[in-house]
């Protein structure tokens, strides 16, 4: 297939809307993800205001929430709706679709040397299903009784019975429909990624020469294909329980003065099905971020990533283990305590490949020549929050210790650092690094620095003190804690956390400005601005359909020959400290990695 075949006439609609070009689809994913992110983060600010000043009324509540915040006092159901939709949007729409969708689409064909995805059409379908599910999720916010509010984990019976809370009516139906479509989108996308990586690698691009980005996208897609269908089945069974009178998850319920007919079902079954996706989902979110980090750190350290093979093994080990640890979300769910023991064991095992990855990142910095581009800052930031958040996982993964911190703010602090902030940093690192590839222009680096440092200080300011609030036993998802005088002395800390949250969010405005301004007015990018080895930087700055105007590039080496010297001690290519994958091995050069 040569590039010429792709040169058919393009209209505005085929180029910008129903595009089958992976680069355009990547941009569509990114911009949709960013817009959803704005909604998700704005929601978090609203409920943080409520947590910090539970007895105060805010005019902004009434402006934004209307009848749900009469005279500026937020309704408890709306509080729950906000935390629910914040979680859903951030986990699925921003960090799954916005992160993995964007960079898998952009980088898989470009970094393996393919003209496009295996199926451009399915790729387009995948995006438009995602778009449709986003629209439905946003529309659910405008339902009369409010959107889904049973927490992003939507445990039945709360989510199954409209009598239990107003959000479990039409709002929950829309949530389920939206997620079902989202899962379809994700599955189509994932299958496409797997097939593309396996079949369309260019000549010389063996699996052991793949950049770590591709390894993580590939493995992430596999986890998605394995686990997302289980959530789909859970959602379908829940729809049956809600609308067709079945009892998969319901039994012995008396609500609003009447006994329901349901018998024999178990909410614990739903928890198993949910977390069979829910936990791998953490890695679906995180692995691409780690892949991006690997690439960005190696490029900017001007050094090979340390322990490439150990990294690949760790990625696969994490992926495998991630499918057998779901029960650690259920230590106190009422499941057999013996299962708790098994899940403690598998959960703490996952700390090992995670530790290996962290140490490898640190070693990659050692004796490097670090170029502090904004992407590099975010990548180092990711390693930092990944360590901080990962370490507290040792407490939560231990069934004994989980008893008393389960569902407290300690958990909220833990997962926001380890998957929320880390994955967001991965997203930002990716945007700063590949913005020139996506839009042909550079992001402003000084605004990038401001964005990073405020975010870095703010994120730790939000989430580090939050662990201590959790240690005091403050439950999450409490509209107000003023009914427990024991928590009165936490008030100042909750205010502090909210102030840091506002600070962090304001830094994101700098990013948004930088993003949209640079898209049109940024400095025009050169072909390979970061002096990188990977194939995407051999394509022209102006996008062409088919990626390379002529022949596909041939690959002669792995992606990490930075600062490599030949036997005479000279850089492989004179005068430059990087050796693109397309550069053939020299006679006096040895392979120096395993």
């Amino acid at each position: 297939m040569s590039a010429e075949h792709h040169h058919h006439k393009e209209t505005f609609i085929t180029k910008y809307i129903f595009s089958e070009d992976h680069k355009m689809i990547a941009k569509q994913y990114l911009i949709t993800g960013l817009l959803m992110g704005i909604i998700g983060i704005a929601m978090s600010l609203l409920f943080r205001l409520q947590i910090a000043w539970p007895e105060q009324s805010f005019a902004i509540f009434e402006v934004l929430l209307g009848k749900w915040a009469p005279e500026g006092v937020m309704d408890p159901n709306v509080y729950l709706a906000l935390v629910t939709i914040h979680g859903t949007i951030m986990v699925f729409f921003v960090l799954t679709a916005g992160l993995s969708g964007t960079f898998s689409n952009l980088l898989i064909p470009l970094q393996i040397g393919a003209r496009d995805m295996a199926s451009g059409f399915l790729n387009m379908v995948s995006y438009w299903l995602f778009f449709l599910s986003s629209i439905i999720m946003v529309l659910s916010l405008f339902v009369e009784a409010g959107p889904a509010a049973a927490g992003w984990t939507i445990y039945p019976p709360l989510s199954a019975l409209p009598q239990a809370m107003p959000g479990s009516g039409l709002g929950m139906t829309l949530w389920l429909v939206s997620m079902a479509i989202f899962i379809a989108s994700s599955l189509i996308g994932s299958l496409n990624y797997v097939v593309t990586v396996l079949n369309l690698r260019t000549e010389g691009m063996s699996m052991s020469r793949l950049p770590l980005t591709i390894w993580t996208f590939f493995v992430t897609a596999i986890i998605g294909v394995i686990s997302f269908p289980v959530l789909l089945s859970a959602a379908l069974l829940l729809i049956m329980d809600r609308s067709f009178g079945t009892s998969f998850f319901l039994s012995d319920i008396f609500i609003q003065g009447e006994v329901l007919h349901n018998q024999g079902g178990s909410p614990v079954l739903f928890e198993h099905l949910f977390w069979f996706l829910g936990h791998p989902e953490v890695y679906i979110v995180l692995l691409p971020a780690l892949g991006i980090t690997s690439e960005v750190i190696a490029t900017n350290a001007r050094k090979p990533i340390f322990g490439y093979r150990a990294m690949v093994i760790s990625i696969i080990a994490i992926a495998f283990l991630s499918t057998i640890v779901w029960g650690h979300h259920m230590f106190v769910s009422g499941m057999n305590p013996f299962l708790g023991s098994v899940f403690t064991f598998t959960t703490l095992l996952i700390a090992i490949p995670s530790a290996v990855k962290s140490f490898n990142y640190i070693t990659t910095l050692w004796k490097g020549n670090l170029q502090f581009n904004p992407a590099m800052l975010f990548s180092i930031g990711l390693v930092s929050t990944f360590i901080t958040g990962g370490l507290t996982g040792i407490i939560l993964g231990d069934s004994t210790l989980d008893i008393n911190v389960h569902d407290t703010y300690f958990v909220v602090a833990h997962f926001h650092l380890v998957m929320g902030i880390s994955a967001l940093y991965g997203l930002f690192a990716g945007v700063y690094h590949w913005f020139p590839k996506m839009f042909g222009r550079m992001l402003n680096k000084n605004l990038g620095y401001v964005h990073f440092w405020i975010t870095a200080i703010g994120a730790y300011g939000v989430f580090f003190p939050m662990h201590f609030v959790g240690m005091a036993g403050l439950p999450r998802r409490y509209y107000t804690y003023t009914n427990f005088p024991y928590f009165d002395d936490l008030a100042d800390t909750n205010v502090l956390i909210t102030l840091f949250a506002l600070l962090t969010a304001s830094a994101q405005l700098v990013f948004l400005y930088n993003f949209f301004h640079s898209m049109f007015y940024g400095k025009v990018a050169s072909k390979n601005p970061w002096k990188s080895n990977t194939l995407e930087w051999t394509t022209p700055v102006e996008h062409v359909h088919g990626n390379w105007p002529g022949e596909l590039p041939k690959v002669y080496r792995w992606a990490y020959d930075y600062s490599k010297t030949d036997n005479d001690g000279n850089y492989i290519i004179e005068g430059q400290d990087f050796t693109p994958q397309t550069f053939p091995m020299k006679d006096n050069e040895e392979i120096l990695h395993h």
Binding site: L80, Q263, G307, L365, I387, D398, G473, R477, Y513, K564
Partner: protein
């Protein structure tokens, strides 16, 4: 009007950021406009990395000192002692690794910040190093896992045949708790939500002989130093019975009975007199006094002074009033407990009225 105000704010923000980017380029002295980090950037950002890890250390120290009183007081249950020890070991270990790794990460970032003519060392892998940092976590985690599992098994293995244990049903509904004591026969009567009718709000089976002496209360009283076995039942949705001072938590699931068991070791009176609690209550009452002044100024009622009581709270999202689903727990001497329970109505007395 609102629309134009928003538009104005957006435009002004845009101008601000545009000016900010110009201002930064001048202050950072990197107005070459390549938008790729140059030597000056690397020097500055490298130093910031060092400052940042100092900030992180300061933040951690601040939290541990300032929020030390947030940690719950020593456990008021027998197994809680093991729990607390395991928690302390884990926290110390985690903080040790945290300080070390964050130090290395940011210090390397500072030390190896890019310089002109500096060459990076090509160092691709080292199997010995990989082995070291695989094996050290393996050994440490093995220790933690073994200790954790030992404690877990001790806590969760509930001896159902323990004749001396007090059997209490915890009954959860939107949005409150009830306790049902098994009465003289120490055997709970059968119950199902299908039997709920009138005063029989817990759906206890009237035809069951064991049921008649059951005692239903809205406070949870426990005799000190005696094992209590909780049998938990939910009327409607998932709830979770969280008793933080006893290091106890179990979800309450409609359609099944879940269990938890512990031995309370400290009476309410005793913990109120403990140094920790005296200080804590004083802090809280100071806060409440300040708040009351504001309330009085507004013509509202002042807050009551706080006295510590154990509590049980709902810790699984369950609807609008989830945040206020609590029950007072009183731990008292065996004789006080007997007096209290003898004053309560039995199920028979309740239904026959």
């Amino acid at each position: 009007m609102t629309f134009f105000l928003i538009l104005l704010i957006v435009v002004l923000l845009g101008v601000t950021f545009w000016q900010l980017s110009n201002f930064l380029a001048i202050t950072f002295g990197n107005s070459d406009n390549s938008q790729v980090a140059n030597n000056a950037d690397n020097q500055k950002q490298g130093k910031f990395m060092l400052y940042f890890v100092l900030f992180l250390y300061a933040l951690m120290a601040f939290c541990f000192i300032e929020y030390y009183s947030y940690f719950l007081p020593a456990a008021s249950s027998e197994h809680g002692v093991d729990y607390d020890r395991l928690m302390q070991i884990s926290v110390v270990l985690i903080m040790f690794v945290q300080i070390l790794t964050q130090g290395f990460l940011h210090f390397f970032a500072y030390k190896y910040k890019g310089k002109k003519d500096q060459k990076a060392t090509y160092y691709a892998d080292n199997n010995t190093l990989e082995m070291i940092w695989t094996i050290i976590p393996v050994i440490t985690l093995a220790g933690l896992i073994l200790y954790g599992l030992y404690t877990w098994t001790t806590i969760m293995n509930i001896d159902e045949d323990d004749e001396d244990a007090l059997i209490v049903e915890l009954y959860a509904y939107q949005f409150g708790w009830r306790a049902r004591y098994a009465g003289n026969d120490n055997e709970l009567g059968k119950a199902n939500v299908r039997f709920i009718e009138g005063v029989n709000t817990l759906g206890v089976d009237k035809s069951d002989n064991y049921a008649m002496d059951d005692i239903i209360t809205s406070e949870l009283h426990l005799p000190v130093n005696k094992r209590v076995i909780f049998k938990m039942r939910s009327q409607d949705v998932l709830h979770s019975a969280y008793m933080p001072f006893f290091r106890a938590q179990m979800n309450v699931v409609p359609g099944m009975i879940t269990e938890f068991s512990y031995i309370p070791t400290q009476t309410t009176e005793e913990i109120r007199l403990s140094d920790f609690m005296v200080e804590k209550v004083e802090t809280i009452n100071n806060i409440r006094r300040d708040k009351s002044k504001l309330l009085l100024a507004k013509g509202e009622e002042a807050l009551e002074p706080y006295e510590f009581d154990y509590y049980l709270l709902c810790n699984k999202i369950c609807g609008a009033s989830h945040f206020n689903m609590q029950m007072k727990i009183v731990v008292e001497s065996e004789s006080d407990f007997k007096n209290w329970i003898s004053e309560q109505k039995t199920f028979k007395q309740v239904v026959s009225n």
